[in-house]
C-alpha cells in the first residue's frame, strides 16, 4: 500500500514542484530535494504542497503590510521554515530555544501589547507540553496568539509517540475562546493565515503530516473560520474530515464513485467553533456519516460530530474513523496511514463497511 497522496494516481490536483525554493539545506547527507522522497511513497512531493513549509514565506509577505506580525519558534526555524520569515524580518523573529512553554507565554505578553504573534512548534509540544500556557495565557485573557502546530498526528512516523500528537484536537477543543482549525494543504494554510489577521482571540492551527498533497488549486477566497467547505457533493453518505485526511477522503470518494456510490466530502477545517448546520444537513440528506481524522478516536472531530448528532436527535448510520485508542506503531508515515486504514483505500473500505451495516 502506498500513500495515495504521494503516489499520484487519482489525484488530479497535484502541483508542480516550486523550482524557486531550495530545500537542499533541510536534510543533510543526501542530495537535496531527493531527500524528500519517501521510499514508501515512490514519488517526490511538490514543495508547494507542504503546509508547514509555506508559513514562513506567507507570513513574511503579510508582514510587509502589517507591522503587528511577529513570529516565534522553539529551535525549529528550519524544520518549519519560519527561517523564511526570519531572513526577511529579522527584527520581528524570535527563536526562543527549546522552551515551548516560555514561547507561548512570551507570545501572549507580546499580544497584550498589540502584536499578533505566530508561535510555531511541533503539535505535540504545543498542545501537550504547553497546553496550560495556551489555556491560561492565550485563551483565558483572549490574546490573539496564533499557534502553528505543525507535524501533527503521527506524521513524524518513526520518531515515535513522544513526537506524535493524536490527542491535540481533543484537548484544544475543550478550551473556551480558542479557535481550532486544521489546514488541509498549503493553499488552505495561506487562507487561514490571511483570515487570522482579523480574527479575535487565539487560534490553534493544526498543520498536517508535513507532506500533504494539494487539495485546493488556490487559497480558498471565501474561507471563514467555522464555515465548512463541501468539496464534493454526494447522496449515499457524507464523509466529514479535516486537515491531513481531506485529500485521502477525496481519493476514497473517487473510488467509491467508480463503484456507483455517491460520497459527499466535507472539509470540516474548523473544529471549534463547529459548523453544526453542515453536519446536520449531511446527516439528514445522506443518512450515513463517516468521520475521518488523523487523531485518536477519542475526543476529536468524530466525537464532536457525534455530539452534534446526539444533541440534535438526528439519527444516522455513523462511524468514527481515526487512530485506535493506542500508542501507535512507529514506521514511515505512509506505511502508518496504510496500516491504520487512513489512506484512500482504507477509507474507501471503511465507508463500504459502514454502508453495509
Amino acid at each position: 500500500m502506498t500513500d495515495p497522496g504521494a503516489a499520484g494516481g487519482a489525484q488530479p490536483r497535484e502541483a508542480a514542484p516550486d523550482p524557486g525554493q531550495d530545500m537542499s539545506g533541510l536534510f543533510r547527507g543526501t542530495a537535496g530535494a531527493q531527500a524528500l522522497k519517501d521510499p514508501k511513497s515512490g514519488k517526490g512531493i511538490a514543495v508547494t504542497s507542504i503546509p508547514a513549509f509555506v508559513a514562513g514565506a506567507e507570513l513574511a509577505d503579510l508582514a510587509r503590510d502589517d507591522d503587528r506580525i511577529v513570529v516565534l519558534t522553539a529551535d525549529l526555524a528550519h524544520a518549519n521554515r519560519t527561517i523564511d520569515f526570519a531572513s526577511r524580518h529579522p527584527g520581528r523573529f524570535f527563536n526562543v530555544g527549546v522552551a515551548e512553554q516560555n514561547m507561548f507565554s512570551i507570545a501572549a505578553g507580546m499580544a497584550s501589547a498589540g502584536l499578533i504573534p505566530f508561535a510555531s512548534t511541533f503539535a505535540s509540544y504545543a498542545a501537550l507540553l504547553a497546553c496550560e500556557q495556551i489555556r491560561t495565557d492565550c485563551a483565558y485573557p483572549g490574546m490573539p496568539v496564533r499557534i502553528l502546530a505543525h507535524h501533527s498526528g503521527m506524521s513524524l512516523g518513526f520518531y515515535g509517540t513522544s513526537h506524535h500528537s493524536l490527542e491535540d484536537l481533543a484537548i484544544m477543543r475543550a478550551i473556551a475562546d480558542l479557535t481550532v482549525v486544521c489546514a488541509a494543504d498549503a493553499h488552505q494554510l495561506r487562507a487561514i493565515l490571511r483570515a487570522s489577521l482579523s480574527h479575535p482571540g487565539p487560534i490553534y492551527i493544526r498543520l498536517g503530516r508535513g507532506r500533504d498533497p494539494q487539495v485546493y488549486a488556490e487559497p480558498p477566497a471565501s474561507f471563514q473560520f467555522g464555515r465548512a467547505i463541501r468539496l464534493r457533493e454526494g447522496s449515499d453518505l457524507a464523509i466529514i474530515t479535516t486537515g491531513s485526511e481531506v485529500h485521502a477522503c477525496l481519493g476514497a470518494a473517487e473510488s467509491l464513485q467508480a463503484a456507483g456510490i455517491s460520497a459527499r466530502v466535507i472539509d470540516m477545517h474548523t473544529i471549534r467553533p463547529l459548523d453544526t448546520r453542515e453536519i446536520l444537513t449531511a446527516a439528514v440528506e445522506t443518512g450515513t456519516v463517516l468521520t475521518v481524522e488523523e487523531h485518536n478516536i477519542t475526543g476529536g472531530l468524530g466525537s464532536a460530530v457525534a455530539e452534534t448528532l446526539a444533541d440534535a436527535g438526528v439519527a444516522a448510520r455513523f462511524l468514527r474513523h481515526g487512530v485506535p485508542d493506542e500508542h501507535v506503531l512507529l514506521g514511515p508515515p505512509a506505511a502508518l496511514y496504510a496500516h491504520y486504514r487512513l489512506d484512500a483505500a482504507g477509507i474507501e473500505s471503511t465507508a463500504r463497511q459502514l454502508l453495509a451495516r
Binding site: 522552551a99 512553554q101 512570551i106 505578553g109 483565558y140 485573557p141
Partner: protein, 300 residues
C-alpha cells in the same frame, strides 16, 4: 546611596519624608483592605500580600507611569503580578488611584464578580495581565518587553514574582530569554518572603544563592529590605535606563505576614481567616503601622 539619575527626593528632605509617609500609609491601606475583603469569602491570602504591601504601594504611588482614565495607554509601564494570589492587595490600589469605583470591591469573590482570588485582565481595568498559575508571569513580561522593542516604545515592564514560584522551571526559561535578549526594560521584583505553602523555601525546595542565580542568567541584581521604603525607592533610582542593557532584578527580602504579629513568619497563615475579636485586633494592629519584628518572625 542614590545615583545621579535619582528621581526621588533626597533622603532626609521634607519632600522625601512626605513621600515615605504617603507610601507607608498606602501600604497600611493595602493591609487593611486585604483583611476587609478576605472577610467576604471567608478566606484570603493574607500573608503573601502583606509581604508585598510596600512593593505594591511604591510601584503604584511612586514608580509606575499609567493613566487610570486610559487603561490601554500604549506607553504605560506594565506591571505583571505573577504571584497572582496577592491580587487582594492590588485591587484596592487600582480602585484608589481611579481605575474603577472602590464600591465594586464590596462584591469581591461573589458570584459574577470581576474580582476573584487571582486577577483577570479582561474584567478589571488596570490589570496588565491575568495571572494565578505560578511561573508564567516572567515569560509574559519578557513578551511585553520584546513588544516594546519591536514597537519602539519606551515603557518598562515590572513583574512581581514570589519566591516559592521560583521552583517553577518556566521562570528560568524566561530569565534565560531576558538575559539573552538583553531586556534592559524588564524589572523583576522577587518578593523573597522565605515561605511557600508547605514551609520554608529552603526546606521545601531551596532557591539560594538567589542573587548568584540571576547574575549567572545575565541579570543585574539588587538585594534590599523589601519593607524599607527608602531602600525600595533607592532601588528604583538605581535601575539602569530601559534599553539594551541587562534585565534587572530586585530581590526584596520580606517577611511573610509582615504587619500582623500573629502572622509574621507563620506558615499556617498562607490562606486563613480572621473572625470576631481577632479581626478587630488585627485591624487595630495594622492601623498602628509597622512595628519592629517580633522574635521568631521572619527568616531562618
Amino acid at each position: 546611596m542614590t545615583s545621579e539619575r535619582a528621581r526621588y527626593p533626597r533622603i532626609g528632605s521634607p519632600e522625601r519624608e512626605r513621600l515615605l509617609a504617603r507610601l507607608a500609609d498606602r501600604a497600611k491601606f493595602i493591609r487593611l483592605e486585604t483583611v476587609r475583603l478576605a472577610e467576604i469569602p471567608g478566606a484570603g491570602h493574607y500573608t503573601g500580600t502583606f509581604s508585598a504591601a510596600e512593593l505594591i504601594a511604591s510601584l503604584y504611588y511612586a514608580e509606575l507611569a499609567y493613566r487610570p482614565g486610559d487603561p490601554a495607554w500604549p506607553d504605560r509601564d506594565r506591571m505583571v503580578l505573577s504571584k497572582g494570589h496577592a491580587a487582594i492587595g492590588l485591587y484596592p490600589v487600582l480602585a484608589d488611584v481611579g481605575f474603577f469605583a472602590p464600591g465594586l470591591l464590596d462584591d469581591y469573590t461573589r458570584l459574577g464578580s470581576p474580582f476573584g482570588d487571582h486577577p483577570d485582565m479582561r474584567k478589571i481595568k488596570g490589570i496588565d495581565f491575568s495571572s494565578g498559575s505560578l511561573g508564567h508571569g516572567l515569560s509574559v513580561s519578557v513578551g511585553m518587553a520584546l513588544a516594546a522593542r519591536v514597537s519602539g516604545r519606551g515603557y518598562r515592564t515590572f513583574c512581581i514574582v514570589g519566591d516559592g514560584e521560583l521552583a517553577e522551571g518556566q521562570v528560568w526559561e524566561a530569565a534565560m530569554a531576558a538575559g539573552h535578549y538583553r531586556l534592559g526594560s524588564l524589572v523583576c521584583i522577587v518578593d523573597r518572603n522565605y515561605l511557600s505553602i508547605d514551609g520554608p523555601t529552603e526546606d521545601i525546595m531551596g532557591i539560594e544563592p538567589l542573587a548568584d542565580k540571576f547574575a549567572s542568567f545575565r541579570w543585574s541584581v539588587q538585594r534590599i529590605d523589601g519593607h524599607d521604603l527608602d531602600a525600595i525607592l533607592d532601588a528604583y533610582d538605581r535601575l539602569e535606563p530601559p534599553g539594551q542593557g541587562q534585565p534587572q532584578v530586585i530581590i526584596a527580602d520580606t517577611v511573610k505576614g509582615r504587619g500582623v504579629r500573629r502572622m509574621e513568619g507563620d506558615v499556617g497563615w498562607h490562606v486563613g481567616r480572621l473572625a470576631g475579636a481577632d479581626y478587630d485586633e488585627v485591624v487595630a494592629e495594622i492601623a498602628g503601622g509597622l512595628q519592629p519584628l517580633g522574635s521568631g518572625a521572619g527568616r531562618d
